[in-house]
């Protein structure tokens, strides 16, 4: 069970977009070259982010992607779910109903599966951490570890330098 590369790319792109001046945008091509990933495939992740209402896209020259909401209103879980989907990390197939000692269990209403319950609990813990982390926090912590000169240079490069 490993998250796809698209999740990592999407998170880095959201961070990059959050570092841009308000009102400006960066193209998929720029974002792809900036991160060293295939442009057309990254576009798929950006489309997913746009479909989820996290970024806005504008076409034509000087077009590109920009954040659709304030960084404080975007959680990491929003980004991940936009790319990977909203289903749980554990899918209970209810195999306990196949118990041969229990004919008719397929149709009965049963108490919740205790194994699935624990897996859901772990899944919720994972989601809770990501739900509480907002893009603002990422932007702040990045600013504390990255040299300001690099931040400025990257911002200008993304805008079309």
């Amino acid at each position: 069970m490993i998250l796809g590369s698209q999740v990592e790319w999407a998170l880095h792109c959201m961070t990059a977009l959050g570092s841009l001046p308000p009102g400006s945008s960066a193209t998929a091509k720029r974002l792809a070259e900036f991160h060293g990933v295939p442009k057309e495939y990254l576009a798929k992740a950006l489309q997913a982010l746009a479909a989820a209402g996290l970024v806005e896209s504008s076409t034509g020259p000087k077009g590109g992607y920009s954040l659709a909401r304030a960084p404080g209103d975007i959680s990491l879980l929003d980004v991940i779910e936009a790319v990977e989907g909203r289903q749980r990390t554990f899918n209970c197939a209810e195999i306990r109903r196949n118990n041969p000692c229990w004919p008719g269990a397929r149709r009965l209403k049963l108490p919740p599966c205790q194994i699935a319950a624990v897996m859901y609990e772990a899944d919720d813990a994972w989601r809770e951490v990501l739900r509480k982390k907002r893009l603002t926090q990422i932007l702040e912590s990045v600013r504390t570890v990255a040299p300001p000169a690099l931040m400025d240079a990257s911002r200008d490069w993304l805008l079309g330098g």
Copy 2:
């Protein structure tokens, strides 16, 4: 990112094995039919559990699988890691090093990636829940929701009835 069916099967098999009388064992064939899953494929999960030292296998007639440790010494994380591997759910590819504004970043030593740090934090929360849950707790909660008659019948069926 979804856990494979093998994880579910392994967890149910561990629960079944934990319900057996000490010293007894159940064969892969029985476990597969009991859960309604393909026998040969379930065997792969059982082999992984054996390789991780969670179950012991004995060959020949009257052979089969049995728990290698006390249920109190087995956490759900042990079972999941035995089947799915021990790598994290998030793999940081360090794409920040591809930043064109930062030549030579590939070889420099950098402060930790803040995005990866959050993902690791969420991963740790997920693992922590599963690490604290022991097989004993599953067995107890199953006993509280399943009819005792069904438990006895299932145990006898698994042993070879």
